[in-house]
Subunit: 254 residues, 2 copies
C-alpha cells in the first residue's frame, strides 16, 4: 500500500475559524507557511470542528425549541432537552439510550454518540452546540477541489472526528468525510505472503488515516486542527467516507 | 500531546519469522539497518502475526480434536469444527454467531472475530492456524525490555492486529499489547481552547498508534511487519493494552 516512510505534519498555526471563513484559503496558507510543496496523493486531514465552524453549524441553544418527544427522552436520560432535540433532528434513528447518552444513526449513515454534536471548543458559555457538517463528504470534495486547483495536484482530503465504539474504551479518530482517497481498500483475492488467498475483505483506509492524524491533533488546548500526510501510497477508485457506514441490515450490533 | 511532525518508518526487510526466533534481536537488527538511533518515547509497533509466530502459536489443524459443542456450533455456522474448537478454547464467551462468523471475548478481554485466529500468511496449505500471543501485553513488555536495554532508552512497544467493528465496514489496526505507553490518555478536566472543561474522557492512544502503523504495514504480499514511530509526544503512566478492553457490564453492545 505504500512506500516505507510516512510523515505527518501538523498545521499548527491556523487562526481560529469562524462562520463564513474561507477554510480552503486558510488551509492553503497554512500549507505554504510549512513550506510544503504538495505532490499527488498527499493527504490533508481536517478536524470536523473547524469545517463545521466555517460552515456556520453553530447553534444557539436558546433558539432550539424541544419537541415533546425530545423533552420526554431528555427527561428519561437526564440531558438538556434542547440538545436532545438537536440530536434527534440530526439523526435518523436512536440506536441506544442510556443516562446522559444518546447513540443515534446520523443522517450520514454513521452511528455515533449524540449525533456528533459537540459542546467543547465552541464557546465558553455552554449555550452553543456545534453540529457536524451538513454533508462531510461534500465538504471534503469542496476543499479538495480548491487545494487541487491551487497546487495543481491530486490530493486526498479527509474530515475526521473522534468517536467512541463498542467493546473498547476511549475514542479514536475516524473519517466522516473523504475525497480523492479510497475510503475502503479491498484485499479480496490478493495473495498473502504465502500465496494463500487473503480472507480479510477490506481495510478502512480512511479511518486509519483519520486515527493517525488524531494522534497529533490533540483534543484539548493544543490547537492543531489539520494534519498533512505524505508517503502513504494508495490506488484504487476514490470512495467517500459514507461508504464506510455499515448498512443496518448487515450489522449484527444494531 | 505531541510535537508537530511525526515519522512512521516501515521496517520492511525483516526476515520471515519462525517459531523460536529471537524476535527482539531481529527487530534490533532491523532498526540498525535503517540507521535509526532510538530516543526516549520512540514507539515500535509490531504486527501480531510475527509475535505469534516467534512464540510458536501456530497450530496444526490435524492435531485439534473438536469438542461436541464446537462441532455443533461449526455445523450451525458452517465453519471448520477444528477452527471453532480453537476459537472456543481461546475465548471466554461467545458474543455473536452468524454464518461463518464467531465473535467472542478473547481471554485478553478484547472482543473480536474468531478469537483473532488467522489463516492467512500462515502457510499455504490451509491446514494451520495462528493463535494470538498468549499474553500480548507481556510480549510487548518483553520486547520493550530487550530494546530498551540494547539502545539505552525508554521506548514504547505495541503489538497490533486488524479488527472489524460494529457500525463501520472494513478492518482497522488496534492495539492488543502495549508497554511503555499510556494506552488510554485521559482528558478529563483538561480545558479546551475556549476554557470549557472537555467532556470527552479518554483517547485510545494505543489504538490510534496501531491504526497509524497499519497504514504502512500492508495486509497482503507486502511484508512490513513492524513500524517505527518518532515524534508522537506522550506522557502519563504506561498502561497495558488490556486497559482498553471495556468491561462487559459497562458495554451497551454485548
Amino acid at each position: 500500500m505504500t512506500g516505507p516512510v510516512v510523515s505527518l505534519i501538523a498545521l499548527d498555526d491556523l487562526p481560529l475559524v469562524e462562520a463564513g471563513d474561507d477554510l480552503a484559503a486558510m488551509l492553503i496558507a497554512a500549507v505554504r507557511r510549512k513550506n510544503i510543496a504538495p505532490v499527488d496523493h498527499d493527504i490533508l486531514v481536517v478536524a470536523q470542528k473547524i469545517v463545521s465552524k466555517a460552515e456556520g453549524r453553530m447553534v444557539r441553544l436558546a433558539d432550539v425549541k424541544p419537541s415533546p418527544r425530545a423533552a420526554a427522552i431528555a427527561d428519561e436520560i437526564g440531558k438538556d432537552s434542547r440538545l436532545v432535540e438537536l440530536v434527534l433532528s440530526e439523526g435518523t434513528e436512536i440506536v441506544r439510550r442510556a443516562p446522559n447518552l444518546l447513540i443515534v444513526e446520523h443522517r450520514s449513515g454513521f452511528v455515533m454518540a449524540n449525533a456528533g454534536i459537540d459542546q467543547s471548543n465552541v464557546g465558553g458559555d455552554g449555550e452553543h452546540a456545534l453540529l457536524l457538517p451538513r454533508d462531510a463528504d461534500a465538504s471534503a470534495a469542496a476543499l479538495k477541489a480548491a487545494l487541487d486547483r491551487e497546487f495543481g495536484v491530486d490530493l486526498g482530503v479527509l474530515i475526521n472526528d473522534s468517536f467512541g465504539r463498542p467493546w473498547r474504551k476511549g475514542v479514536v479518530g475516524v473519517a466522516i468525510g473523504a475525497a480523492g482517497v479510497p475510503s475502503l481498500v479491498s484485499l479480496v483475492g490478493k495473495p498473502d505472503l504465502m500465496g494463500r488467498k487473503l480472507r480479510v475483505t477490506e481495510v478502512a483506509f480512511a479511518d486509519e488515516l483519520a486515527a493517525a492524524a488524531s494522534l497529533i491533533m490533540g483534543q484539548g488546548d493544543e490547537g492543531r486542527p489539520a494534519v498533512y500526510i505524505r508517503g502513504v501510497g494508495y490506488d484504487g477508485p476514490p470512495m467517500p467516507a459514507c461508504a464506510i457506514a455499515r448498512p443496518k441490515e448487515t450489522d449484527l450490533f444494531r
